[in-house]
């Protein structure tokens, strides 16, 4: 009798454990078979709202061009007949190549819309005169020759405007060559998907096109979305670029402004190269994870301001290569494989007010010296830092070394990652961060922020349906 009672008195513990275990396993089995990836709180699959660029019906009727009440069945004939200041109204489908040599002319679509088809040869529309306006036209099928600069629209006339145009199946979308103050707005440019990326031309190609304005364009499946060469004073705002090699590509182009653009699913979001005095603000680079895989590439770029951008889920958030005297401030750097990579002797950068959140590795700099990014009162926010703010001024009293000895070891010898998150790993990292006695080479932030300056990063986790 006592024996039985004794068994009863102590078995509750193991019974409770078995019950908890069974419930847990059952719950886990349900959770696993659920197959839902809600726990994958990543920005993977985040895409901004873009309309389907292929969603358009070409007009079926043969084209009619009207100028001054006179009707033509060819755009070229109508344009040739027009006087400066006239408006040529187009409706229906044309199969021809057009050269506009009359200044101050406007070409507009009416009714069901107008389509100019180049039949796969040469440049479709060549604007050779100044102040020409193209509105709501659909231009397609340029030639396939990159070397010949086959484009949907070639603009050589200063002050010309392209508004609400749709350019599809072209090598280059718009080529602006040696013309000033050209405006391209609300254009949709879709390249040839079936052509390999290296054979494609650029969406908007600027060649000595000073003072151009590029606003609210949508560009996809070309080589580079917007390509700058030898162009200054260009304003590019509100453009959206995806499925490209580079979203925006600067070469030898100084004093330009890039604001509020979005580049996603490219190899590189914004590639800034061999230029100076650029202003890069409020841009978003997401999921740029091609072979290079960089959100914003800063290569041989000097004295530029890179502020308030969001680089999310790229290979490298920022890749800074041989760049000097730039300001990287107030950017959000979220969930990249490497947040910021500094290399090839980049120097004199000011890196302040950025939020480094949930990157696999916040920063990496192969260097034998200790780099301080911020001499100022404020540093950056690091989600993996142990920020200790005793006096409540918003900055931590202990320094943070995001790229120190262990990161360097893991970078050089990936095998060391098996010791990642081990107490040993943490001990070395904490020692580097907390005790200035240990001076190991790498990046150090003397005034890490206690709170992130960016709250909008949560938005990237909201929508997973796309």
């Amino acid at each position: 009798m006592t024996d039985r009672a004794g068994v009863d008195r102590e078995t509750w513990f193991v019974v409770a454990a078995v019950a908890v275990l069974v419930v847990s396993l059952a719950a886990a089995a349900v959770a696993a078979s659920d197959g839902s990836d809600d726990r994958e709180a990543t920005v993977e699959g985040w895409t901004p709202d873009v309309a389907d660029p292929h969603d358009a019906e070409p007009p079926a009727e043969p084209g009619v061009a009207t100028v001054d009440g006179e009707e033509f069945d060819s755009v070229q004939a109508a344009v040739d007949a027009a006087e400066p200041g006239d408006t040529v109204v187009l409706e229906g489908q044309f199969e021809e190549h057009v050269t506009v040599e009359t200044a101050d002319l406007a070409l507009e679509a009416a009714g069901e819309g107008a389509l100019i088809d180049g039949g796969g040869e040469g440049t479709v529309v060549h604007v050779a005169a100044e102040n020409v306006t193209l509105e709501e036209l659909w231009i397609r099928e340029s030639g396939h020759d990159r070397g010949n600069e086959d484009a949907g629209v070639l603009v050589n006339g200063s002050g010309s405007t392209l508004a609400d145009v749709r350019i599809t199946d072209t090598t280059y979308g718009v080529w602006i060559g040696e013309a000033e103050d050209v405006t391209v707005e609300s254009a949709t440019i879709v390249g040839r998907e079936e052509v390999s990326q290296s054979e494609r031309g650029n969406g908007i190609h600027l060649d000595r096109a000073d003072g151009a304005e590029l606003r609210d364009n949508e560009i996809t499946t070309v080589r580079d979305g917007i390509y700058f060469s030898w162009s200054e004073g260009v304003d590019a705002t509100g453009n959206v670029m995806w499925d490209l090699r580079y979203g925006v590509h600067y070469m030898y182009s100084d004093d330009n402004r890039l604001e509020g653009n979005v580049a996603f699913d490219n190899d590189v979001g914004f590639a800034l190269m061999v230029s100076q005095n650029l202003t890069i603000v409020d841009n978003v680079a997401v999921n740029n994870d091609g072979p290079s895989g960089q959100g914003i590439l800063v290569k041989d770029v000097d004295r530029s301001e890179i502020r308030d951008n969001a680089v999310v889920a790229n290979g490298n958030g920022f890749y800074v290569y041989n760049a000097h005297g730039n300001e990287l401030t107030d950017n959000l750097i979220l969930e990249n494989e490497v947040g910021v990579q500094f290399t090839a002797g980049s120097s004199d950068e000011l890196v302040v007010g950025n939020s480094f959140v949930a990157n696999d590795q916040s920063a990496y700099a192969p260097t034998t010296a200790q780099i301080t990014w911020n001499d100022s009162e404020r540093g950056n926010y690091w989600s993996d830092a142990r920020a200790i703010d005793l006096d409540g001024d918003g900055t931590s009293e202990t320094r943070h070394q995001p790229a120190g000895a262990v990161e360097a070891v893991v970078h050089d010898r990936p095998q060391a990652a098996v010791f990642a998150e081990s107490p040993a790993f943490d001990a070395v990292r904490m020692a580097e961060s907390s005790f200035p006695v240990i001076e190991s080479p790498g990046v150090v932030d003397h005034r890490p922020l206690a709170e992130p300056a960016h709250d909008e990063w949560r938005e990237y986790y909201e929508d997973h349906d796309n």
Binding site: T2, D3, A5, G6, E10, F13, V14, A16, A17, V18, V20, L21, V23, S24, L25, A27, A28, A29, V30, A31, A32, D34, S36, D37, D38, R39, E40, A41, T42, E337, V338, V357, A358, D360, Q361, S383, V406, V409, V410, D412, R413, P414, Q415, A416, A417, V418, F419, A420, E421, S422, P423, A424, F425, D426, A427, V428, P452, Y461
Partner: protein, 303 residues
């Protein structure tokens, strides 16, 4: 016969115990009469289990694990970063590496040497039961207590997590739970081995702390240094990982989480040929081998 048993009972439990000891002893002798080794084993294990539950060890262990896990989960709710199971489990796994081995060693270090000092072991050895089975039974009994405490303790926290995050992703937590049980059992086994080898209880305690410091702190630091200094082959790195049960635990839990834990962790695991099967096998070996060694060493022990 009855007399001897009575004395033994008095020695090992000075406080009134409801007469269970004499009952088990009766069972013990019955078992030895029938001569079936596993019955002897089970009786020793059952006794050990009941002693631990009555001695409040079970409740204390459960409370430690529950408090630790709950503290961390409520804490992680306020931290910056994408909430969810993965993050919480990653944090738990990182910190459990410190706590679980320490608790398991504390629970295991006196299993033999402590019993010897209070005389209980003399009594057991006087019985016609193979010594090895007494050690294995002791380990088994304590293992059941520790495993149950881990499951219940972390299970309570798991319940709160379910309440907070919902069902999706709970499998990651259960992986962590089971791996923690494994990790605890490894260090319990090591503790029992230390206890079998040590001359005195204080020696066992000291050695246990050294064992903890080695596996939790020194081993990986050394490994990190070796990897940094030499270009080791993938096999050497794998061997180094398997040589440390805390490393196996981390690989199991963080590997299951994928890349969420750290850069390239899962990739490195895959490259070094450490599948879940290999890791689990290594963990089981880490449990079985120390106990087997202890069972062997007990024969040479002089009382």
């Amino acid at each position: 016969m009855t007399d001897r048993k009575r004395t033994a009972t008095d020695e090992q439990t000075p406080k009134p115990d409801g007469g269970y000891a004499s009952a088990t002893d009766a069972e013990l002798s019955r078992a030895s009469d029938s001569g079936i080794w596993y019955r002897q084993l089970l009786v020793v294990a059952e006794t050990e289990y009941r002693l631990a539950v009555r001695g409040r060890w079970a409740v204390a262990l459960t409370a430690i694990f529950a408090a630790f896990a709950l503290g961390l989960t409520t804490f992680s709710g306020s931290s910056v970063g994408p909430e969810g199971f993965e993050r919480t489990v990653a944090s738990l796994a990182v910190l459990a590496v410190y706590l679980v081995p320490l608790v398991a060693l504390a629970f295991g270090y006196d299993a033999v040497v402590g019993r010897e000092e209070n005389g209980w072991l003399h009594a057991l050895f006087a019985l016609p039961v193979e010594r090895a089975w007494i050690v294995v039974g002791t380990a088994l009994g304590r293992a059941v207590v520790l495993a149950s405490a881990t499951v219940v303790g972390f299970g309570i926290a798991g319940g709160f997590l379910l309440w907070e995050f919902g069902l999706a992703g709970f499998d990651a937590y259960v992986t962590f739970l089971l791996a923690s049980v494994g990790l605890g059992l490894v260090f319990l086994a090591v503790g029992v081995l230390v206890s079998t080898l040590a001359r005195e209880k204080t020696h066992a305690l000291g050695i246990s702390l050294l064992v903890w410091a080695w596996f939790v702190l020194v081993h990986d630091l050394l490994g990190l240094g070796l990897v940094a200094a030499f270009d080791l082959s993938a096999g050497a790195v794998s061997a180094m990982l398997l040589a440390n049960p805390t490393g196996i635990f981390r690989a199991l839990v963080l590997g299951a989480l994928g890349a969420a834990g750290d850069a390239g962790f899962a990739t490195v695991l895959a490259e070094s040929g450490l599948s879940t099967g290999v890791l689990v096998g290594a963990l089981v070996a880490w449990i079985v081998v120390p106990i087997a060694l202890a069972a062997f060493a007990i024969r040479r022990r002089r009382l």
